[in-house]
């Protein structure tokens, strides 16, 4: 029988092997071409995210799901803490021209997409980033979820046929006016992007005319983007969450301790107590926020060093022009992002089976279809998985769990819905919510409201489902 020591030693060996593998990959990339250091940066930031997400049990699905299902504010608070630090760093970077952030089209589509994503993340048992780190823990359901995200998206952005009858004429007219290559406008999603989304305004509070005139220099980033778009709403949300989910239990204990009267000071203690209730989650929230900001700084630095604005330019220099969209670009977010690269992976696989995945805007024009080993954002996702794997091995939490029964359905369905809820918003819980809110883009909150709404309905469904199962189990007593 294996002893605890043997298991621990074996886990450590595996942790070293995984880390060593990534170091080897990095060295091979450097030897192949110094331009690949751009990819290597994504790998190691992904690795760092993976370790922190696993250690802090950091999952955006948990933020709203556990609030509604179990009344536990741990993760919601952790995310708001991360937002706090990330937004301050984003403002610092923006004010020094070291930011890669860009706002996204603002519209009702963002809210609707968020709702679909919110339902999906509850069914799947984790958001996009959460599913990746849980794969690192050995969670087979999360593998199915990511497969759902990958292939669901890839098919969604390419499928036309009868769906084209649902395209409004206004979208067709607007798309035609842009004179894009006709052979790339073949799917419902192509018209959605070119005829609707691209026409929506992009808002970054610091760049709103009245704001940039009233707040000179760096002030506009700190006041508008950080304070108004992120810090104040986050502080309000923390107070609201405390009031509805934490206050009653805390004040009851505090009143008992003090023998009766409580005051405002106790309320502040209650809020602080809620924030520090899960030290590992809150600590990881702080570090994730700082790391996400550092990631932007480093990517911008790499772009300045190589004299580029997109990794596609480096691929072209290295002769890999087949990887690119017709604009000469590939998907290169310049910061933490999930789902787009999984969609590229799904499309790459489908292409192997003869499906033309370049006859659309998403892959054919904007993001290209690089080979997976030349896809920087996809390497970031692999980094997240490996980082989480190393952390879970070292903490003896790694266990490969094969999904069975209903978990297969929830994983695939949830992942597919997450894919369908991220593409139309051009991002997921990370790209469409976390990054945008911290960067001064109010559409981030629109997506967040959608996610929470969708999660509410997802939890309602699971409550009903589990009630049925419990009733069956309790029939005998």
């Amino acid at each position: 029988m294996e002893t605890v020591d043997t298991t621990e030693k074996r886990n450590q060996i595996w942790a070293f092997l995984v880390t060593g593998f990534l170091i080897l990959v990095s060295m091979l990339y450097y030897k192949a071409n110094v331009y690949y250091m751009y990819v290597v940066v994504y790998i190691w930031f992904g690795f760092a995210y993976g370790m922190m997400l696993q250690y802090g049990r950091f999952c955006f699905a948990s933020a709203s799901r556990d609030l509604f299902a179990a009344g536990v504010p741990r993760m919601a608070v952790g995310i708001l803490v991360a937002l706090f630090f990330f937004s301050l760093i984003q403002a610092t970077l923006a004010s020094t021209n070291m930011s890669t952030f860009h706002p996204a089209p603002f519209g009702i589509h963002t809210l609707i997409s968020g709702v679909i994503f919110g339902v999906g993340m509850v069914l799947a048992g984790g958001c996009a980033s959460g599913s990746l780190y849980k794969i690192g823990e050995g969670n087979g359901t999360s593998i199915l979820s990511i497969l759902g995200i990958s292939f669901g998206q890839a098919i969604f952005v390419d499928v036309g046929g009868p769906l084209l009858k649902l395209v409004p004429q206004s979208w067709i007219d607007s798309s035609n006016a842009k004179e894009l290559p006709a052979e790339k406008i073949t799917s419902w999603f192509d018209y959605y992007l070119t005829g609707y989304v691209w026409d929506q305004p992009k808002i970054q509070l610091s760049h709103v005319k009245s704001v940039s005139e009233a707040l000179p220099g760096a002030l506009k980033y700190f006041v508008a983007d950080s304070l108004i778009n992120a810090l104040i709403p986050a502080a309000i949300l923390i107070c609201v969450i405390y009031y509805f989910y934490s206050r009653k239990g805390f004040m009851k204990k505090r009143a008992k301790l003090k023998g009766g009267t409580t005051g405002f000071g106790d309320e502040l203690s209650g809020i602080w107590g809620m924030i520090t209730a899960s030290k590992r989650t809150t600590l990881m929230g702080v570090i994730i926020g700082i790391t996400a900001g550092l990631h932007i700084f480093v990517m911008k630095g790499m772009q300045i060093k190589f004299g580029i604005s997109n990794f596609g330019e480096l691929l072209e220099r290295m002769g890999h022009t087949a990887d690119l969209g017709i604009n000469g670009t590939v998907f290169d977010p310049g910061y933490w992002y999930i789902t787009s690269q999984e969609g590229q992976f799904g499309a790459w696989v489908l292409q192997l089976f003869g499906w033309d995945m370049r006859d659309n805007v998403f892959f054919g024009i904007n993001n290209g279809l690089p080979e997976p080993w030349r896809n920087p954002a996809l390497w970031m996702s692999f980094g997240i998985i490996f980082g989480a794997m190393v952390m879970s091995l070292l903490n003896k939490e790694f266990k490969f769990k094969i999904p069975k029964g209903e978990l297969i359905v929830w994983g695939l369905l949830g992942g597919t819905l997450m894919g369908l809820g991220s593409r139309p918003a051009l991002g997921c819980n990370i790209g469409a919510f976390f990054i945008r809110v911290a960067g001064g883009d109010p559409s981030g909150w629109l997506y967040g409201i959608g996610m929470v709404t969708g999660a509410f309905f997802g939890v309602k469904f699971f409550n009903w489902w589990s009630e049925r199962k419990m009733a069956k189990e309790m029939e005998s007593f």
Partner: protein, 83 residues
């Protein structure tokens, strides 16, 4: 893999949700605690680390006492007394 909830003795119950991932363990744990009586003991067996974090906080907020929490291999076993 199947959710198992059974009475193991007078005022003691066992809930086994091994194999389940978030949010099932915490939902089933909450529902089980709602169904048993005050003072009853629930032995909860899970193997999903992130659910454990939520369950600990859930119990703390409501006032249920975690009498014991132990790791057996990859399993996490709680003994919870309903408040």
């Amino acid at each position: 893999m199947a959710m198992k909830f059974e009475k193991t003795g007078e005022g003691t119950y066992m809930l086994d949700v091994c194999g389940y991932v978030c949010p099932h363990p915490q939902i089933y744990c909450k529902k089980s605690l709602e169904k048993i009586n005050e003072g009853d003991i629930l032995e909860l067996v899970i193997d999903n680390p992130s659910s454990a974090e939520t369950i600990i906080q859930m119990c703390d907020q409501v006032g249920h006492e975690i009498l014991e929490k132990k790791n057996e291999g990859n399993k996490i076993i709680f003994r919870i007394q309903k408040a």
